[in-house]
């Protein structure tokens, strides 16, 4: 155990900037992603998609496909040994449809064949007869009693609510009341790697799947349920993951189940790799929201009441919608003190592509709503956007919309001051006004801020495990139930192990996740990995250190509590070991020795039968929630952030260019500076796409686009210079005080940009994305035709 530290500079590894531990494999092409795994004798799997967004299945004829040469299996719902559905909240997501199809990504049959081409041909030869049903495509209309039902129980997926104080009283005390409607669009995760999996039948009648999975344990549960196998015979291994952003969960469960069904049927490995088109068609998206905000404030700008009604499009299946919308209710007011709150979030089933987790998890939508609203309120009050925010931001001991008293350092004000100071907000605003009177393109500047609950909160069980195994040469193997999906978890957890064991990061090998090695740690979501896996890793390391310290103490002849573990050496803490021992050989007989290589110590321990392996388990502090009132301690702690964007708007064409971006986040403690910066830059770029071009457009349940030629992501030419100001208010619960960053970095970028655009235009646009047409004409694309005569 490292000596007690007073200052954070005492950390050896934490807070440093290190290259990702897997970077060399990735720059050389050695890293193996889902589609890079092949096995001898493997077959290729393909799916037969539904041809209608909503229809009853009358018959499925696979006879022609079965008879094609090279086809090894054609399966339908009748071939499923277990349940034909899965799902965390509502287990109704169908693996192979039997009676009904609910969206175009539903699958009615699957094929395994000797080659991709034969599989594709076989799929085309399957004929399905349907009775077409009316399509439910609007989430508000879906809740009308006259709407056709997507699921037997009706179209209401979930209704989440918050009741705090009495909004009637609040509005009656208000001197200014605004009512506004905002809307956000459906967007795609657009991880660069399309879903891929290899399923192999095991020797014991079980199954092993290796692929691009984000949440191994929920996928394993789905597999066990569908295949009717005990969990112990289902093994899920994570291949190097080419991005996920929340996206490779249910979509991967479906793919894994299908590949596994084919593998068990044929007794051969089956590989299934989605094309981008399949991925776009089938994989879930971020919920589009329609939001009604009513806000009341007194003349001085203090908020009195907020009433919020939101309709979310859940699409064909529940997936994570109940949890996503729950987070929205907690964050819907924004990071402000509002004495009276009434929030209702409804998610409705439709025949659109289903929606579930995506970076932000119900926050990017409400952040756009609340942050647009605050700008509008400021204007109405004749104040500037900063002033009205600072008047109302949460502070230490403030009570949130859900009635939670904040008992830690609340830094939303600090974050706002950081970005507005760095971006010279008020000065820039004033000089832009002058510029815009006579010059073109118009300039604008906008701000946004948020608070965000860390980890899962009252959403569910919140615990995670990490194993650490010290090797007899002093190297370390670590493995976590929460995974690296490109966000750098492997590096961050390695850094914490390095800190605790006093080894250098290069001595640590972080293994890809595997359900057979580690206990269910819940999903890698909610920006919980550094926090939860970090705490678990520390516990495992501390346990090992506890066991080997007595041996070290005996060998070095010094008290247990004066041992220092650092740089792969163990020494008496009075020794300076910062730069290692150099070439001096450290062996002078037992008691006389001053330092010892960690590897030597590990060897000695091993020889004495001391276990060098430990499993750390961390359970998050308790939260509470009353569903009736929507009140409780929703999360055990929160993070705070603010963004500032500067834009140039060509008002003649509607072209927006983001010219500068400032991002400030309280992360508690920066664990890995490189990783932390990467999260912010990436989050800003994703928020920029959300603000300006991305939209998964659908018409009557049919997507108008299917690939990156029409679904436009930001390129290197579109991103602004981004400055970052990290705030470190160590949290008493977090590892080294760290909290979370992945999602906060993303959720408020779009509203900052939107506010800047509106500032430049002198006009409010209340819908995303801010396409050229919407900025110029004030309305979005109708996207009437898939491809018109002006297309290629």
């Amino acid at each position: 155990m490292p000596a007690p530290r007073k200052k954070r500079t005492a950390f050896a590894a934490i807070g440093t900037s290190v290259p990702n531990v897997d970077a060399v494999d990735k720059v050389t092409g050695r890293a193996k992603y889902g589609a890079d795994h092949d096995r001898k004798g493997q077959l290729y799997g393909r799916v037969k998609y539904s041809e209608h967004p909503h229809a009853l299945i009358l018959s499925i004829d696979v006879s022609r496909a079965v008879n094609l040469s090279g086809v090894r299996a054609v399966l339908t719902h009748a071939d499923i040994p277990g349940e034909n559905s899965f799902g965390t909240a509502v287990p109704h997501q169908v693996v192979l449809c039997s009676e009904k199809v609910r969206y175009l990504g539903d699958v009615v049959a699957i094929v395994a064949a000797d080659s991709e081409e034969i599989a594709a041909k076989a799929v085309e030869s399957i004929t399905v007869k349907y009775k077409i049903l009316p399509v439910v495509s609007d989430p508000v209309e879906a809740l009308s009693p006259r709407s056709p039902a997507v699921h037997a129980g009706g179209n209401l997926c979930v209704h989440q609510k918050v009741r705090k104080g009495d909004v009637g009283t609040g509005f009656s005390q208000s001197e200014v009341v605004l009512e506004r409607e905002y809307a956000t669009q459906k967007v795609e995760h657009a991880y660069m790697e399309p879903e891929a999996v290899l399923a192999e039948p095991g020797e014991n009648g079980g199954i092993t799947v290796t692929g691009s999975v984000q949440n191994l344990y929920s996928i394993r549960r789905g597999l066990a349920r569908v295949l009717a196998l005990p969990l112990g015979r289902v093994r899920v291994r994570q291949a190097t993951l080419g991005g996920s952003f929340g996206g490779k969960d249910e979509a991967m469960t479906a793919l894994c189940c299908r590949a596994a069904l084919l593998a068990l049927k044929t007794g051969r490995p089956v590989k299934m790799v989605n094309t981008r088109e399949n991925s776009m068609r089938e994989s879930y998206k971020r919920h589009p929201y329609r939001m009604k905000y009513k806000v009341g404030a007194d003349r001085r700008g203090f908020l009195k009441a907020m009433e919020i009604t939101i309709h979310a499009d859940a699409g064909a299946y529940a997936a994570m919608s109940p949890f996503v919308t729950w987070r929205s209710t907690v964050q819907a007011t924004g990071p402000y003190v509002v004495p009276n709150v009434r929030t209702d979030v409804y998610a409705a089933y439709t025949n659109n592509c289903y929606t579930s987790a995506m970076r932000g998890f119900g926050s990017p939508q409400v952040c756009f709503g609340s942050e647009s609203l605050m700008d509008e309120l400021a204007e109405k009050l004749g104040m500037d956007p900063l002033e009205v925010r600072l008047k109302n931001t949460l502070r230490g001991r403030s009570t949130t919309a859900t009635g939670q008293k904040l008992n830690h350092t609340v830094s939303v004000g600090e974050a706002l001051l950081n970005v507005t100071k760095k971006g010279r907000f008020l000065k820039t605003r004033a000089s832009n006004r002058k510029h815009n009177e006579r010059s073109h393109p118009k300039k604008g500047v906008g701000i946004s801020c948020s608070y965000r609950g860390v980890s899962l909160g009252a959403e569910g069980v919140d615990a995670a495990g990490v194993t650490v195994s010290l090797q007899t040469d002093g190297s370390v193997v670590a493995s976590s139930g929460l995974v690296d999906m490109g966000q750098g978890a492997a590096t961050t957890i390695s850094l914490m192990v390095a800190e605790e064991l006093g080894v250098t990061v290069d001595r640590i090998r972080f293994l890809g996740a595997d359900t057979s090695r580690l206990p269910d740690s819940g999903p890698t979501v909610a920006s919980r990995t550094s926090f939860m896996a970090g705490q678990a890793a520390r516990r495992a390391c501390k346990e090992i250190v506890e066991r080997i310290r007595p041996v070290a103490s005996e060998v070095l002849g010094c008290p247990v509590d004066s041992l220092l573990f650092r740089n792969n050496w163990v020494s008496h803490s009075t020794e300076r070991t910062r730069r290692g021992p150099g070439s001096r050989k450290a062996g002078r007989g037992r008691a006389g020795r001053k330092r010892l290589r960690l590897g030597e110590l590990a060897s000695l321990c091993f020889a004495r039968g001391v276990s060098l392996f430990a499993h750390g388990w961390y359970r998050a502090p308790a939260t509470s929630w009353d569903e009736r009132t929507g009140q409780g301690d929703a999360y055990f702690t929160f993070v705070y952030g603010a963004n500032l964007a500067e834009v140039e708007v060509d008002t003649e064409t509607g072209t927006v260019r983001v010219t500068r971006f400032v991002s400030s986040h309280d992360v508690g403690r920066v664990l890995n500076l490189n990783g932390a910066r990467g999260q912010v830059y990436g989050g800003v770029a994703m928020g920029l796409g959300y603000a300006l071009f991305e939209e998964y457009a659908e018409q009557d349940g049919r997507p108008s686009l299917e690939n990156f030629d029409e679904y436009l992501l930001p390129t290197v030419s579109d991103v602004p210079e981004t400055e970052i100001v990290f705030i470190e208010n160590p949290d008493r619960l977090g590892p080294y005080g760290a909290k979370s960053l992945g999602e906060p970095a993303c959720e408020i970028a779009a509203p900052a940009i939107a506010n800047a655009v509106c500032d430049a235009l002198g006009m409010r646009v209340r819908e995303l994305p801010l396409t050229l047409e919407r900025v110029r004409l004030g309305r979005g694309l109708s996207r009437k035709e898939k491809r018109g005569s002006a297309g290629p």
Partner: protein, 282 residues
């Protein structure tokens, strides 16, 4: 991939002999063709006539007062040609904003023409440079003006047994431009594009050609606008009128990429910007 056959001729003669055969599709760079084939998941593959090996189709050479380009000249080669930069700046500008480096390194002039998309970036410049296409077949060839080449989106007068073997055009007049609008700053298909080729004498428009991209089933010459501008000085009034006329000449539609009224308006905006640039450069 299925037993698709490939013909890889080394000479134009060989190529022309093969092009008429049933099920044979000529491939220049392949950047559009392979995208289209990607969309047809399991369809029968055609036979490919891969033209890469025919050296004579790659040339950039002066011809008379103008230029003759082989159809296999890539966007990147156009972008980097100093000859073209002087003689056909509109074409160079269009080639340099299209697609990405990877696409420009493979996409060809001939492919862009044969593909027949009204959003094809090289087409408006070719219209204003009065490009003439040489279409060859086994035993002969014919010449077609670029404006007569397109019948509709993706439809051209190229016969099954013909190849575009040369693109000939005049050198640009003393003023010209190519402007376009797309969602992103790179790697995006144009919502609207405008090319012009203008000559001024004593401050007045002596000749002018304007072509509009992505606002009609084919690229469109704004002939009424051209007529109006002839003989006029380029000032605020005349430019404004020209922009209004050009917007009226466009016949855009709503599609996934944009809205008709937006496109129509943008024709005027882009033309206005280009003409202003010319006027102020005097």
């Amino acid at each position: 991939m299925r037993e698709a056959s490939v013909i890889a001729p080394r000479s134009l003669r060989e190529a022309l002999r093969a092009v008429g055969r049933k099920g044979v599709v000529a491939v220049a760079g392949g950047t559009d063709l392979l995208v289209r084939l990607h969309d047809v998941a399991a369809g029968e593959r055609p036979s490919f006539l891969v033209l890469d090996g025919v050296r004579t189709l790659h040339s950039i050479a002066p011809r008379g007062k103008g230029l003759a380009l082989g159809p296999l000249v890539t966007f990147s080669e156009i972008e980097r040609s100093s000859l073209l930069r002087t003689l056909a700046p509109q074409l160079v500008e269009a080639a340099s904003v299209a697609g990405s480096v990877q696409i420009r390194n493979r996409a060809t002039l001939g492919g862009n023409i044969a593909n027949g998309s009204p959003a094809g970036d090289l087409l408006p410049p070719l219209y204003v440079l009065s490009a003439r296409l040489e279409l060859s077949y086994s035993g002969g060839r014919r010449q077609v003006m670029i404006e007569d080449f397109f019948k509709g989106p993706g439809e051209t007068v190229l016969r099954r047994n013909e190849l575009i073997t040369r693109v000939v055009f005049e050198r640009s007049q003393n003023r010209g431009f190519f402007l376009r609008l797309a969602v992103r700053r790179a790697l995006a298909i144009s919502k609207v594009s405008v090319a012009a080729n203008v000559s001024l004498r004593n401050g007045r428009v002596q000749s002018v050609r304007i072509a509009l991209g992505a606002v009609a089933p084919t690229v469109l010459r704004a002939s009424r606008t051209e007529e109006y501008l002839l003989g006029r000085e380029l000032d605020r009034d005349s430019i404004e009128t020209a922009c209004g006329l050009a917007s009226g000449e466009a016949a855009p539609i709503d599609d996934i990429r944009s809205e008709a009224d937006y496109r129509r308006e943008m024709v005027g905006v882009l033309l206005g910007r280009g003409l202003l640039r010319i006027a102020s450069a005097r």
